[in-house]
Symmetry: C2
Amino acid sequence: MKRHVFFISDRTGITAENLGASLLTQFPDIDFQRTNIPFVTNEEAAHTAVATIRSQTQGKEAPIVFSTLTDMKVQAIITDSSPYVFDLFGTFIDPLENALGMVSSHKAGKMHGIGDTEAYEKRVHAVNFTLGHDDGLSLRNLEEADIVLIGVSRCGKTPTCLYLAMQYSLKAANYPLVQDDLENSTLPPALSRCRSKLYGLTINPEQLSRIRHERRPTGEYSQLTRCQWEVSRAEKLLREEDIPFIDTTTVSIEEIAATAGRDMGLR
Amino acid sequence: MKRHVFFISDRTGITAENLGASLLTQFPDIDFQRTNIPFVTNEEAAHTAVATIRSQTQGKEAPIVFSTLTDMKVQAIITDSSPYVFDLFGTFIDPLENALGMVSSHKAGKMHGIGDTEAYEKRVHAVNFTLGHDDGLSLRNLEEADIVLIGVSRCGKTPTCLYLAMQYSLKAANYPLVQDDLENSTLPPALSRCRSKLYGLTINPEQLSRIRHERRPTGEYSQLTRCQWEVSRAEKLLREEDIPFIDTTTVSIEEIAATAGRDMGLR
């Protein structure tokens, strides 16, 4: 069973897509065909969007439309495009005005006004720090890090660090546990000095083997026995050193990052 | 004027925060104090969350609570925490069930089930490609890239590439225009070969000077006259080569990425 879904917004559409996608996961039996129409900032753009929706869904079941539009005139045009328009923004604005005892500004683009420069620079600084401290690239200035992820190669450290930097502006370093660390069950001195910032990632060995196989199909690196040894030694080390850790096998990068942030009291 | 705001979710809270934050920007005069309470997956966690909300807002104005909870029993407990609870999820589930002619599964954690492994690997592959092609690090395999951002140093290329990779699983390379390129107003041969993938970023020279100053306070690199020269030469080159470009001065990374994706027909 198929159904067209459109995400309409006056900005990037990420908010509409996020909430829309999480609502749609509640209907796993339907095959949703998704189209994102961002930057619908005026009535002309809204008419163009409606024309797109109509042309793609003609003769089919009425589409589902999720919108996050701040301009009510623009929203009104979109509302005509289908009997099933979900106004994710407008639905809450009136009750929110009541709760706050204040009329809202009803303006798009308020998210990145004055004062955001500082936030932007903090974010870019975090990203640069994170890039400079990926994969144990540098163990210098680790005391500057907000968090240091450790784990075996390919368990999800790099994307999680980048997400922590991009989403939460956290300076996230990571260090891959190597043969010596695993054999001796000890942390390198540079890491021992920032113990309170260490957070471990672990993973199911079968999954690890599969992921490594993608990258390097031959050799010991991707062999299941090798992965089993590395993971069991890594978990032993994490437990002995009393470092909190998470199993990343079935968890998304967003959730690993949010869990790490919560466990480390960083949010 | 201050007001407490809580974001309650059974996952990471990112959806609640995104939509909640964009609603709150409509009330610029209020100083919102935000608390994120993620992973509220059962009734016990909900009671703990309510206790947290009550303890932080006792004797103050009733807080604003945004929630995205799939379990209605858990939601019911949160609903009691304030007269101003905005159920971002439940509000739309009933009408969505009507639109789709189907009962929803009402289960949390549906977002990362079977089939997501492929999406995860595509994403990690994009992130790795992007990391390997940051800052002109490698001009090899550029034909594999989905998009190649070009512009002067510090105009936003790196974070935008990372966002394109993390959010949209796009292989995003970037190349900083250097002295030779700017003086000769020509593209290096490696870039000429992937012209259709080139997308330019430009920036206001004053802003650029300020950003560079943060990084390297002395020397020509951050001087305004230098930044003015680089930006004007870069824009001349982009125009001559007919490469689409965006001014990043007042635009967020999310929006630069979404705009580039749209302009290049990548979404």
